[in-house]
Symmetry: D2
Subunit: 337 residues, 4 copies
């Protein structure tokens, strides 16, 4: 961390600042120029509040040289993390596809989809029970009942289940859930992240619509700081000026950037990123090719009852076609390290 | 709402769709062209799930003509809402300035600032007890104890208090709080919004960093749909590509746009929007001139102990100067209606 | 195109509007509801000025159903365009890699790089002679002399050359250039586009930093409307809030979206999109996998004289490694149609 | 400028780098830590190419402490620049309103509007002769003939005229134009900027849709580096994710930020920023209150022939109303220094 002091910084304040820094276990390397003095802070600066430093009257500017996250940082944990979900591994060369409907609607629906996606090669089942919806008048999900139906599908197929939590108070309902998903809108719901850090189930953490890669890693850090190291990162499109056809802009470069900076597995959600079923296939192939550790894809089984399916969902046949294409491209994917 | 059908739409599916629409109490005006058929939906479309319609196989596109919010909509509530906070009014011509520190730090601090901002003309006291911080290692606020200190400052000065909630489970601690703030990161924490809709305290709802104006109004709608009509909207800067000096981009045009569309009061937070104390004055004057119903401004009282203050906070003297400038410009501000 | 009229639209004005529409060769399908009247315009609406319509007093809103571009539109030209560059084909299943240095610096440099990239499989040589630089004090390129050096490298290797034009007045210098590049900053330099439409050399048109896909296609339309159908589209990253490591956000979903809407070839520039050499490989693989028609990659040959190379440039060895990986993944790439 | 070296930087390369820096007339302050070495560059770093430095193998990161622009920088020119346009002053306390139609359409039109806006207090006349349009099929302006009509309106009213140039080759037609406007799409048309720097007419430089404040100042620097110091900066809205009602997001905070960093006058274009006539008044008042040096506003005179006017244009009566409101608020505007 570099602290650039103002010209003519008051020397009493400077001494006070230097003491404050040293009290936090850091060394100082001072460079005095004609126009400005620069302090280089050496040591573990991840616990320094950069805003506090920047607010000091004698400080012109503060710049980080190292990252503000530690548990999620590859520098301190060079080996890939492999998350084990009831025997299904993800990360460290283990590629996993999670598939299922946007919303759980009925036992028949979720069980049929579970069978179908398993047959195509999916290794986990997703399905929304608690649904974050922009409008209070839109369908809010089957909630607890939806989780029970997911459990039935899991009993039938053996597929671990992944479903979204919206509030820490819902945790008791997630006892038999295998991976707890934190949605994009809750990526900085810090009270929820803290609660999830205190339990041990793996977390699928989705990047917020306008969250930077560093903010995503800081949210993972919240969970990991509580003791839960099983975090799967998920890129699902970011909000940009571009709105033509695609709902968001899928940031596939986040894959190599995240894997460089962190040891955690990275999965891509092409369904939410593109918002359009026919774009899911090219983006799934591209994500696998760019080195993703997995995909999370929306599949519905009931095209004739289309009122209940999102336009970003694939039919089981289309999903099977995507799986074949993804499997074919994987041996030629980019590899880290 | 306009539904544009695909060329060669299946007629059986079309009949099914028309029935589905009519069952929801809507009329249909159909226009058949050589290349496409268009359905105009007439009636209360606020409860139609636009994604469901768009997902139909025979539908090319759906476009809203009217807004998806109702309680927050000025069309159905032409008069300005005036929120009454323990006798302090905001909205409908009542201009209110809320001021106080970023974080509550001590009884001495919060009480001194309260006296000071009251003397300068602030009519409510703000102060953070629960602090949303990007890093788990940054100061998280005094939490319940902070609220108790705010209550003391309120007892001393009579100023109603405004403080942020981060989770519905914290509600019991807010019993003596006058306005509950929902922060930008929680604007789409729908479980929290629902809980706040079921109680009656006024809510200060901050716009998310990358939330559209429509999404802000939909979040207000969540609260209002639960029965709580006392919502104050707050623009606090949006995330854009511009990062030079200013932390976010303050969208002052949101003031007339929000007031056109909604009857709810609109306040501006120039401290968080700009992130720099010296920009608070010009943006406060501009916000008042553009017709805002109020301001929420960070003030600290302890410049020599600057490590605990944000660089966006004003000294009491600087705040007093801003208040004088704002009062001077208000008679010449833009007026709606 | 759908025109939504205001409630109580003046009937004389409506007749005037309908006449104006019919004079432009369009049919009108009118749908009258209780609250609003909707006009559906049927026919070739690409030449209708949507802003003019929207400005009419009686008009509430105008929405396009069809695209405002025609020559670039796949609907009117279903077959892929294959651009022939002196015998090198791109598009329609022909994949082409363009490589070379950011700037032409010397005969020795450009000729050595040309030999090297050719040996690795590149089929065209790029090199900047006119350099758009944010600062007037930065190196502006060798200009005409740089083009002469490119011609020498072309003479030596047979590789067609691609270089950027910054102003129509430079056209005489481009007589022996094979593909004229329009940079991102000039994508909406309409006078330049018009001039390029009146000559016949292929154009590599880069998407502007904040240009939508539709705007990119409209700029292609400018060139094609002048008579030059040989346009190659290039995605090179868009400006978003994310700045960590990557300079821009590479929008790979633009590949399938552009190819759906247009018949023109689409190439990806991973060097400028990421701004970092080590991200070029994963993004090149991903772009090829997503179905791109080609890549344009920066290569320098002189790492020990690094002051003259961008940090996004590959060494010849690194480029060779990228080429092998791209060739390996191509058989498994997404295919359109 | 601060150069952070990689751990274990090669010492021969370091010596080479230090020599390279000193050759450019800069001093070096070196700070050696256990993990990294930092070089502080002292002197005029505006002519250092930051990309070149960052590309060096031994360099981890380069961070600017000072600005890369010099002529436009307030540090080197503390007094406000006052641009004199044929006797009409702007900047340094001189507030100027420029008004007129989007496009020049006829002698009658432009002369009538000129009389009208002059009567309301405008001191310069704007009108588009060369029109940058997204579509090649949209009206491209009256071009040379339009400038002749502007000259007639100037002869009648004495108002200096402001009109947009799209290419340096058009300069001969601008002989009697008083202020040459560079549009947002051409803000980084560097060949055009260079040509405008070599002549002496004042330039109204509009900020690009996705240009940072620093890039705007660098484009001003291009013009000033050529010898033309008469640059007026114009904020006209930036492209963000928000599209509801407003076409762009007006960044009013750019006013104090630009005036802090530069001595050049700053004007606001509320017509293009908002895209909606009824938002022009609140944003004009806010811009004046925030300390702008002027406004540029679209006015049409022919509402019954509305097909030729943009929906962002004011009627003469509405413009008169805006002028009264702006004049009323100006004595209470924020003042710099």
């Amino acid at each position: 961390m570099i602290v650039i002091l103002k010209q003519n910084a008051d020397s009493a304040q400077l001494i006070q600042l230097e003491n404050w820094i040293r009290e936090r276990g850091l060394d100082i390397h001072k460079s005095e120029g004609t126009n400005s003095t620069i302090l280089g802070l050496v040591g573990d600066t991840s616990k320094i509040d950069i805003d506090l430093l920047g607010a000091l009257e004698i400080v012109e500017n503060v710049k980080r040289v190292s990252e503000p996250y530690k548990n999620a940082n590859r520098k301190f944990h060079p080996m890939d993390t492999v998350v084990d979900v009831n025997g299904v591994k993800i990360g460290g060369g283990n590629f996993a596809v999670i598939a299922g409907p946007c919303s759980v609607e009925s036992e028949e629906q979720i069980c049929a989809i579970a069978e179908s996606v398993k047959a195509s090669g999916a290794v986990m089942l997703r399905g929304g029970a608690f649904k974050p919806r922009t409008s209070p008048y839109a369908f809010q999900g089957m909630r607890g009942e939806g989780i029970e139906l997911l459990e039935k599908a899991k009993a039938n197929t053996g597929l671990p289940i992944v479903t979204e939590i919206m509030d820490a108070s819902q945790l008791p309902l997630f006892e038999n859930v295998d991976v707890i998903q934190v949605g994009a809108r809750n990526m900085q719901n810090f009270e929820l992240l803290k609660a999830l850090g205190k339990q041990s189930k793996p977390i699928l953490l989705k990047r917020g619509l306008s969250s930077t890669i560093e903010e995503l890693l800081m949210s993972a850090e919240y969970i990991m700081a509580g003791g839960n190291e099983n975090v799967i990162l998920c890129e699902r499109g970011i909000r940009t000026f571009e709105t033509a056809t695609t709902r968001n802009t899928l940031d596939l470069c986040a894959i190599p950037v995240l894997k460089e900076r962190s040891h955690l597995p990275v999965v891509i959600d092409p369904s939410h990123a593109t918002g359009v079923a026919r774009l899911v296939k090219p983006m799934s192939i591209a994500a696998a090719a760019a080195g993703a550790d997995g995909l999370i894809i929306e599949v519905h089984n009931n095209p004739e009852k289309a009122l209940c399916d999102g336009k970003q969902s694939l039919t089981p046949e289309a999903f099977d076609d995507v799986m074949k294409a993804v499997e074919a491209v994987r041996p030629f994917a980019y590899k880290f390290n």
